[in-house]
């Protein structure tokens, strides 16, 4: 690469979202300026939710469908709509394709959106995706006109099958939901990024800012975070930290990192070095 080639075409200016216009996230017909998606489960109050939404800069946030509590006051929907955030219903808690498809249809009725974060887990202990039920429900929902964003294993073959089924994105896990273990198999995440054309959204396992940066450096298009924010001691601070990490990781990916080397390579030229201690 020549020196001319290495000049940045348009150097992103410092500051929040300065690079966004040149680099939007596109999912189906949606265009988004930020790449951190917020999972809303686990926050102590709607006030803290509002703080976390603002700090995260998220334009998409997930909600779950549950039985209506007649005593509940205020709604997660009020907060998200007030902040102009797209509501992404999930199918959390579903363990069969039938449950997941019905939950997605109920969410479409209730919320007026055909977007769904499709979750079909195999058991309550690991919360790992059930790939068979996941693919079956994805096919049904795509046929029914849904924009399907499936929470999936870090399996490059399954990710490709989900893309072929018509999913609008794939959301591989970094580690089990709520574990905060980071990205256990970065090689697989890189293979998924290489293997599909739809956006790759790293979902589950993020524990702190460096995990989110790593996901973006691996080539993910976005990161969805719930527990790392909602269960942090200070959710809004962590939301801001993760937003900065996602942005930094994205810029680093686009910048083109140096290859890893086993031995050192001097950054200072050796030519012209003085002989100060001749043998």
């Amino acid at each position: 690469m020549t020196e001319t080639d290495r000049r940045s075409p348009t150097l992103p200016a410092p500051g929040p979202s300065a690079d966004a216009d040149a680099d939007p996230l596109r999912i189906a017909d949606g265009v988004f300026q930020t790449r951190l998606l917020l999972g809303t489960g686990g926050l102590p109050s709607l006030t803290v939710l509002d703080e976390a939404v603002v700090a995260s800069g998220a334009e998409i946030a997930t909600v779950a469908m549950r039985r209506i509590d007649p005593t509940a006051r205020g709604s997660v929907l009020d907060v998200l709509r007030h902040r102009g955030v797209r509501v992404l219903p999930n199918t959390a808690g579903c363990q069969t394709a039938r449950e997941a498809v019905l939950t997605a249809r109920l969410a479409r009725e209730a919320l007026g959106t055909a977007w769904v974060k499709l979750e079909v887990v195999g058991d309550d202990r690991t919360l790992l995706p059930d790939p068979v039920e996941l693919l079956a429900s994805a096919e049904q929902l795509v046929a029914d006109g849904f924009v399907v964003l499936p929470y999936t294993s870090d399996d490059p073959v399954l990710a490709r099958r989900l893309e072929q089924a018509g999913c609008a994105a794939v959301m591989p896990l970094g580690a089990p939901i709520g574990s905060g273990l980071g990205i256990r198999n970065p090689h697989n995440i890189a293979l998924i990024v290489e293997g599909v054309r739809v956006p790759v959204i790293l979902d589950a396992g993020i524990g702190t800012a460096s995990d989110a940066a790593r996901a973006m450096e691996l080539g993910c298009d976005a990161v969805l975070v719930a527990s790392a924010i909602t269960r942090a001691a200070h959710p809004a601070w962590m939301a801001l930290a993760l937003a900065e990490a996602v942005r930094g990781g994205r810029l680093a990916r686009r910048a083109g990192r140096i290859p890893r080397r086993f031995h050192a390579r001097a950054s200072t030229a050796g030519e012209g070095l003085a002989e100060l201690d001749p043998a």
Binding site: G39, T62, A64, R66, R67, S75, V76, L77, L102
Partner: protein
């Protein structure tokens, strides 16, 4: 003189409930005293579309789920 029809027994969100015969889904949702936006209804594992609520009479033995969005995911 007309006889009062016997009430029907249904299960709403897991709770056994007695309702007047002829109660519609719309009436049931009105009873929540919430904005109907954001609510979805399933009976016996099938979605009842909003457009059908007013004309949908509940049957004895129906298992009804009234769902809304909560924090999650």
């Amino acid at each position: 003189m007309t006889e009062m029809p016997a009430p029907i027994g249904v299960v709403v969100n897991g709770r056994p409930t007695s309702l007047p015969a002829g109660t519609t889904v719309a009436t049931l949702v009105d009873g929540l005293h919430r904005s109907p936006g954001g609510i979805a209804v399933a009976i016996g594992g099938e979605v009842v579309p909003r457009s059908a609520w007013a004309g949908w009479s509940l049957d004895d033995g129906d298992r009804i789920e009234l769902l809304g969005a909560v924090q999650g995911g």
